[in-house]
């Protein structure tokens, strides 16, 4: 399955990657793995140490948020479009950081 992955600008300011990359895969995991093979520096930005999707990163397949953030098992079909986007963060996380600093 040929899938187009689109990377958000907020990601591309940190990693030198094109806005669009075509990869082959039948699940979100296979597509992301293929992307990381082509651009290894993306791994730490998109996935955590256990290769789960980072807490504040989202992947959409054809405008639908994926369901399996741990294994990325959501299927993809030929011609699908996959977006990697930073979640809107700061509120609850900010409180957490303030607590961290104070404790």
């Amino acid at each position: 399955m040929s899938v187009e992955i689109r990377m958000a600008k907020g990601l591309r300011v940190h990693v030198d990657v094109p806005e669009r990359v075509d990869v082959i895969g039948s699940t979100a995991r296979e597509a992301v793995d293929a992307l990381i093979v082509a651009h290894p520096s993306l791994q730490r930005f998109v996935l955590d140490d256990a290769r789960r999707l980072r807490q504040h990163v989202n992947i959409y397949i054809n405008n639908e948020l994926i369901h399996d953030r741990r294994d990325l098992s959501d299927p993809v079909a030929d011609g699908d479009q996959l977006h990697i986007l930073p979640a809107v963060s700061g509120g609850a996380r900010a409180i957490e950081y303030i607590q961290r600093g104070l404790i």
Binding site: R44, D49, S89, R100, G101
Partner: protein, 361 residues
């Protein structure tokens, strides 16, 4: 000439300071690593690199360094857990080892990582994480992490670490084995029979020239040890209270130490909202309240655990920052203070070093 470099880590980036005119004037960088939460930064005199432990809301923790005062930055390897379960949530500290190329990083969740190639690759020091007491480590609201690391400059095998909800651990074989160093430390958050297992260290410093001399501020007191933490002496008599975060020492005087006591773990600000640093020069027998030039009313801010540093110069320069983004400095060992910067983001860490004789001078 006595000049210093200064790293002011904030929740919105790093400011690098460079003094002139005998530390009375400062040249400040623009905000470095803007958009990153800088949890800690330090200058490695061996390589001339400024290291920056940064974290990003979305993209996670990273280690960056600059060799040219922030003109250019490089991302190096980052500590990564390999067990498929844990993930590095934050890098709380990075410190030089005692041999060329060695670096140590303190991590949340509680772990120690070591690099032998100047940060290119990292490996978890599993012997610490697997210490028998680790099953008793229970995270507080801040999480659970090692945030202070001291490597004996004369013996790379001697490493002492301290962390929140974990305690103090010492290794004499380069990190192969660890001994808990928590006897006698008050831990009101633990049952009596568990006091030794997981005290809440807020800051811990080993004196670089007097082997065995340690100072620490915990959640519940201030302590000195003369035997590498095998025993601790409560030195809080003469201080206004037991709670606080940072510790600083004088590299030329092992009997000197600085704390910034705060009013309980509820208020978390100086007593009476009156800002002061406390100094001993007799190993904790007596304390001086140092407040000249500091706000003496209406100061409702916190001084965080890494936010007090010294520059190693003579006379000693001391610098500290607050949660309200105010930076204070003293070039007379704390006798008097000057407001150096204000309106910064919350200051997470302050570290300084003497410029004379370094590659960066």
């Amino acid at each position: 000439m006595t000049e210093a470099g200064l790293l002011v880590s904030t929740r919105k980036g790093l400011i690098i300071g460079r003094s002139s005119n005998e530390r009375t004037d400062w040249e400040w960088s623009d905000l470095q690593r803007s958009g990153w939460i800088v949890d800690y930064s330090m200058f490695d005199a061996r390589t001339g690199k400024i290291w920056c432990a940064a974290n990003h809301w979305q993209w996670g923790p990273r280690l960056h360094y600059t060799s040219d005062w922030g003109e250019t930055w490089n991302e190096t390897g980052t500590p990564v857990f390999t067990d498929g379960e844990r993930t590095v949530e934050a890098i709380w500290t990075v410190e030089p080892g005692a041999v060329d190329g060695s670096l140590y990083a303190g991590i949340m969740p509680a772990a120690l990582f070591m690099s032998a190639d100047d940060g290119e690759t990292w490996e978890e020091v599993r012997s610490l994480t697997e210490h028998p007491y680790s099953k008793y480590w229970v995270p507080g609201a801040a999480g659970m992490m090692f945030h202070h690391i001291s490597v004996d400059p004369g013996d790379p095998r001697r490493i002492i670490v301290g962390g929140s909800s974990t305690g103090v651990y010492a290794s004499y074989d380069g990190g192969q084995t660890w001994a808990a160093r928590n006897k006698g430390i008050r831990s009101d958050h633990l049952p009596p029979e568990m006091q030794e297992f997981a005290p809440c260290v807020h800051s811990l410093i080993a004196h670089p020239t007097q082997r065995g001399r340690l100072w620490q501020q915990t959640h519940f007191g201030q302590y000195r040890s003369d035997d590498d933490g095998q025993s601790w002496i409560n030195v809080g008599n003469g201080l206004p209270g037991a709670f606080g975060f940072p510790t600083a020492i004088d590299p030329r005087n092992p009997d000197a130490c600085y704390f910034v006591p705060h009013d309980s773990d509820q208020a978390r600000m100086p007593y009476g909202a009156s800002l002061a640093v406390y100094r001993t020069r007799d190993a904790g027998d007596t304390w001086e309240r140092l407040s000249e030039g500091l706000p003496q009313s209406g100061f409702f801010q916190t001084v965080y655990r890494h936010a007090l540093g010294q520059d190693g110069c003579d006379p000693l320069g001391l610098y500290f920052g607050s949660s309200g983004g105010e930076l204070y400095g003293s070039i007379d060992a704390g006798d008097s203070w000057t407001l150096l910067r204000e309106h910064l983001a919350p200051i997470t860490a302050v570290r300084a070093w003497p410029l004379n004789g370094t590659d960066s001078d």
